[in-house]
Symmetry: C2
Subunit: 249 residues, 2 copies
C-alpha cells in the first residue's frame, strides 16, 4: 500500500519544501532531497541512505529498480511542484540522509575555500569524483553541498565520494601530504607541475581566490597561464585542469 | 545632455527588453545587451561596438571611463528592471553590436557542437580565450552566444576572441589542421596526447556528445579517463582539460 498525499498543506510536504529550499532545515535534519531518474538511481545503489522515495502520479518507475524495502509516497502534480527544483521535473524524488564522513588520512583530497556558487561546488564534486580523488572538503563560506543546484550539477557524485565540512585553516595543519594552492604570485607554471601520488589541492573563491592565511600554509602554488585576454578561468574549470595535471599517471 | 527614460512603455525600453530576452530579436538586430561594470568596461575597449550606454539613476560611473562619444541613456530603477538579467543588477548596461567574423585560416580553434546550456557556452568561450585559442565556432543547435547568461559566464571574453556560427559538418571540411574530437570509443587516453602548434578541438552536447557524422571527420579522438564513479565531466570542464593539454607549450 503506497501512501498518497494530495494536499500542499500536508505537514510532510511542508517539511520537504523546507528541505528543498533552506540550508538550515537540511542541516537540522541532516537530510536533502534529490530529483530526477539519474540521481535517484545513483542513490538506490546504497538504499540505507534513502528516507523516502517520492513519485508524482502517472510517473512509471523503471521495472529494474529494486525498491521493495523503501518507503514510497505518491503525490499529485500540484503537490510535487511544492518541492521540485525545476519547472519541468521528471516527477521522481528521494529524501536522503546526509552521510557524515570523519576526516581521515586521505591520499588525494580537494579543498574548496569559500566558493559561493552552488553550481560550481557541484561541478567540482563531480570533477573530483571523475579524477579519482578520495574526498572533497568544503571550508567555511562555501555554498551548501546539498543545495538542489549543487546536487544537480554534481550528477550523482555525492553518492561516490565523501564530502566533509571543516575549518580549512585548522584542517590543513592535520595533513601529512603536499599541499598545493592556486595563486598568481610566487607560483609555479602549470606546465612545470609533475603528477603526485599524494596531494591536497586548495581552490578558492570565484572573485578573491584563496584566503591569504590559508594560502600561507601551502607547500607550492600553481599558476595556470592566461594566454589570451581572459583574466581568469571559472573555478570549476581551473579545478579540472589542476586535478587532471596532478593525478596524471 | 543625457537622454532620460522614465516609462516602461517607451519604445526603446521595449526594444531592449526584447534584445535581453529573445534570440530572435538579437539576431534580427545583430545586437546584444550586457550588464555590470566588468562587462561594460571590456566593451569600452572597442567603443565602436557600443550602440548605447545605459545607466540607472543614482549609479556613478568610474571617472576613468572614456565615454565622451558614446550615446548615453539614464533610466529609472523600475525601467532598468525591464531589461536587467539579475535581480540585483549593478545598474550599468550597454547595447552592443554583434561583430561578424568571417571564417579564416585559424591555427587553433574550438568547435562546439549542440551545447544547450548558455552558461556552459559562456564558460567555454572564456576558457578558449584563456587558453589562447584563435576563435570559437558554434555549430547548429548551440545555445545563443549572446544570451545574457552566456555573456555573464564568459566574463568579457566575447570582446577578446572571435565567435563564429557555422554548420560544423561542412566547416570541418575546410580545415587544414588536425581535428581532435572527444569520444569514449576508438579514442586515445588524454595522457598520451602531445601539445600541438595547430589544431581544432570539437566538443559536443552535454548528454549525447558529438554528432556521429561530425565525429567521423576527426583525425583523432581523445578520452579523458574517469577514475572514480562519475560517468562524465561537465562539458566546460572537459574543454578546459583538453585545451590546456593541447596548447601546453
Amino acid at each position: 500500500m503506497i501512501k498518497r498525499i494530495e494536499s500542499t498543506q500536508n505537514a510532510l510536504i511542508k517539511h520537504w519544501k523546507k528541505i528543498a529550499t533552506t540550508r538550515k532545515e537540511r542541516e537540522k535534519t541532516q537530510t536533502f532531497i534529490i530529483e530526477g531518474f539519474h540521481l535517484v538511481e545513483e542513490a538506490l545503489k546504497n538504499k540505507a541512505q534513502i528516507v523516502q522515495l517520492i513519485v508524482r502520479e502517472g510517473v512509471d518507475l523503471p521495472l529494474l529498480w529494486d525498491i521493495d524495502d523503501i518507503a514510497m509516497v505518491e503525490v499529485t502534480a500540484a503537490v510535487a511542484k511544492e518541492f521540485a527544483e525545476t519547472e519541468s521535473s521528471q516527477g521522481v524524488f528521494a529524501v536522503c540522509k546526509q552521510i557524515e564522513t570523519v576526516a581521515q588520512k586521505f591520499n588525494r583530497v580537494l579543498l574548496i575555500d569559500a566558493v559561493q556558487d552552488p553550481g560550481n561546488i557541484g561541478t567540482m564534486i563531480r570533477t573530483a569524483d571523475a579524477a579519482g580523488m578520495d574526498a572533497v572538503v568544503l571550508g567555511t563560506g562555501c555554498a551548501d553541498a546539498y543545495n538542489p543546484k549543487t546536487l544537480r550539477s554534481a550528477q550523482g557524485s555525492h553518492f561516490h565520494i565523501p564530502i566533509l565540512r571543516e575549518d580549512l585553516i585548522s584542517y590543513v595543519d592535520t595533513l601529512e601530504i603536499p599541499i598545493y594552492g592556486t595563486a598568481l604570485e610566487q607560483a609555479v607554471d602549470l606546465n612545470k607541475i609533475q603528477a603526485q601520488e599524494k596531494f591536497a589541492l586548495i581552490v578558492g573563491n570565484e572573485g578573491s581566490g584563496i584566503n591569504p592565511q590559508l594560502l600561507s600554509k601551502t607547500n607550492q602554488n600553481i599558476m595556470i597561464p592566461m594566454r589570451g585576454g581572459a583574466e581568469s578561468l571559472n573555478v570549476a574549470v581551473a579545478t579540472g585542469i589542476l586535478l587532471y595535471t596532478l593525478v596524471k599517471a
